[in-house]
Every structure is written in structure tokens, then in C-alpha cells.
Amino acid sequence: MDAQKADMFIMTHAKFFEPHLLPAIREKLLQTDDSKWMMVQSITYREPILMLIISILGGHFGIDRFIIGDMGLGVAKLLTCGGLGVWTIVDWFLIMGRTKEDNFEKLRLNLA
């Protein structure tokens, strides 16, 4: 993939990934075949800010964890009243990073 496309992807999708992962993503995109460009563009990523709002509103029931795909943790959070309320608050700070991690994992799987 040429540098222009990789840079464009980084510019438009930077908010979905952890900042320290961006150089690695760019490198990976440069090594990837041009035929995967359309697929990379069509992946739907989760919005970290939206996940934070969901976590604030429904984190007590584990909804944030269910949406990310951590089903086991979602069940644990739901059954324990959001980890006695503590886990709910801790997740307000963790969920954006976890969403970005999940987005990176999704991209990595598609580029593999």
C-alpha cells in the first residue's frame, strides 16, 4: 500500500486507536497489499467516546463489556451490581483504552 493511502487512513482513523500504536499501524499498512485497501476502509470501528457514554449510562449492568465482546466480564459485572459499584467507576477510565485495543485487534486480524 502506498504511503499516501496509509497516511490518509491514519489521519481519518487516529481517534479509534491508541496513539502509541499509530506508527505500527502505518508500518503494517505500508507492508500490506493494495488489494486490501477497500477492506481496511470498510471495517467498522467502535467509537471510544460513545463507549464511554454507554459505560457511564449502562456500565452498572455490564452493557459496555457486552458490546466490546468481553461477555464473561459482562456477566460478572452484571451479577455483582457492577462489582459493588467500584468496577463500574473503574471502567469509566478503562473503557476507552479497551475500545481502542479492540479496534486495533480488529484491524490486525483483517490485515493478517
Binding site: H60, G69, M71, G72, T80, C81, G82
Partner: protein, 139 residues
Amino acid sequence: MTRKNLYFLALFLGLAGQIWIVYSYIKLGKQEEAFNTCIFNRVTGLPCPSCGTVHSIVSILHGEFRKALNENPLGFASFLMVAVIPYWILADLVFRKDSFYRFYSSFEKFLKNKWVFSCFLFLIFVVWLHNIGQFLHWI
């Protein structure tokens, strides 16, 4: 989630849960109410689906299963989780196995099936209605 992260989190949650149950057991034994940690209950005044779980677990420990079922049926699932998972993880760590991690992965895969997840949500909703019904003295 990596094996290390899962084991750390589950062990921490399991042991914290056991400490909380012992605290509640002592408090409820003295006929005192344990501290209410449910944010949803404090904000809305209504019980959440898992409210009453600790009361239910204490009833299970007293052998009063019918009472436990009436207080919150999820208490049985929580009791199993708190009683089994920390020791399962410790056994895994001692014998250097990953049986809990494999079980957790297959459980997540099972729950990701949309029909299974819909049934799970329905059950939780029924328990929630039961809790609200009890709170409003309908039941």
C-alpha cells in the same frame, strides 16, 4: 484478554467477593443491613437485577434455599462463581494448567451466539421484574 490478565482479575474479584460475603454474613447475623453499594439503587431508588444477591448467598450459607431463590435467583450463580473460581484459578496456577482460561474462552464463544444471549437477557429481565415486584410489594 490474555490468560495473565484474566487470572489476575478473576482472582481479585473472587477474593474480594468472598471478603464481602463474610462481612455481609456477620452484619446480617447481627440483624444489621450491609452497606448498599448499588449505584443504580441509590440513583433511581429501584433495585437492579442483581440486588439481593448477597442476601441470597447468605441464605444459601444458612441452608435456606427457598428463601435464597425468593431473594434473588442469581444468588445461586454468584455463589457458584465466588466459591469455585478463585480455587480453580489457584489450582491452575499451582499445576501450571490453563483449564479455566479454556473454559472462559468457550463460555464467551457460547454466549456470543445471539439466541443464547437473547435467552440470557430474557432471564435477567425476568429476575429484574421479580426484584422490582418484591420491592413494590407486588410479590
